[in-house]
């Protein structure tokens, strides 16, 4: 909305923006299910290598348990194999017990911070987006994690799929306000 009054407002807005910037930043990031946990502690960047290590374990499991196989995903959706249901089911049960234990004993991080959980709010996006993602999953045989792992196994053409997924993410961001949520 180009408006002449906007110019004079700019300064006031900038101050406001600075004030609420941190809150806004949190607000925007938390639209996502993951980007919500802010660490109050400042660590050197190489502390992130601990996440690299966990990622390596994850990548090895992806390949060794054939989770990144297009064929296994087809079997799952055609109910021709228990394998993927077993993998996801076990992961959920182990995850549930872990989260329960962390909450029950108020376990802290290795840096002494308390671990936080945030309830998710329902919106229609989980239905519409969920259905669309499910279709993409069955087509490509990969959810986002396996996309990266498939490239790692040498299926370089999957980088096209990944690029398209990033494009899809961008297009969602562009149309977000106009989509039913």
């Amino acid at each position: 909305m180009p408006n002449e009054n906007n110019l004079s407002d700019t300064n006031a807005k900038a101050t406001m923006a600075n004030l609420i910037n941190d809150d806004m930043d949190f607000e925007i990031r938390s639209l996502d299910s993951m980007c919500i946990n802010d660490s109050q502690q400042q660590h050197p960047w190489w502390y992130n290598f601990k996440y690299l290590t966990i990622g390596i374990v994850f990548g090895i499991v992806f390949v060794k348990a054939e989770i990144i196989s297009w064929f296994r995903i087809q079997e799952m959706f055609r109910l021709q194999s228990f394998h993927m249901f077993g993998v996801i089911g076990t992961a959920v049960v182990v995850g549930m017990i872990s989260v329960w234990l962390i909450k029950k004993f108020s376990i802290k991080t290795i840096h002494g911070e308390s671990i936080s959980f945030h309830p998710k709010k329902f919106n229609k996006g989980q239905v519409y987006g969920g259905l669309l993602f499910g279709m993409g999953w069955a087509l490509t045989g990969a959810c986002p994690g396996p996309l990266f792992a498939q490239i790692g196994t040498g299926a370089l053409v999957i980088s096209v799929v990944l690029a398209s997924a990033i494009a899809g993410t961008w297009v969602y961001g562009y149309f977000r306000e106009r989509l039913p949520h």
């Binding site: 299910s33 390949v63 993998v87 996801i88 872990s98 989980q126 993409g136 969602y172």
Partner: protein, 187 residues
Amino acid sequence: MMEFLKQPWTWYVAGAIIGLIVPALLIFGNKHFGISSNMRHICAACFPANIAYFKYNWKKEIWNFFFVCGVIIGSMIAIHFLNSDSPIVVNQRLVSDLAGYGITDFSGTVPKQLFSFESLFTLRGFIMMVVGGFLVGFGTRYAGGCTSGHSIMGLSNLQVPSFIATCCFMAGGFIMANLILPIILRL
């Protein structure tokens, strides 16, 4: 030991390790398991284009890039050093179904007859790779998470929205794999 590691891992071993990633990330740094948000961070870092959804401090989420780089390195390690070289063993019905569409090569993680640079320029390949990828990126963000963020992390934390999302992931997959994919594979 190596022989043991080289055979395909059973579902409960794999599932347990993946489940343990949830507490590992929480205890290592209060991080919530989730992969698909990386694609959002990539957009925020590279093409924010003044879109509110991408205007946030993505540098705070840099741990996730390290995590996903680990996934790529881990898959390289597994394929080069822990690979058994024998093709995947799948349900016989799937083998005969796919043979009807000319898919007979089971050696890769993805069927080479469908996913290749040559087939990218066929209608079938374009739909499977480009449209499929687009749906993965668009759908996961619309739903606010993917299999890791909703189905594993969300369900671990007993979140009803994550349960709804997971049911929809599955429903979408069933519809695609059983009703639409047979048409696409015939193209």
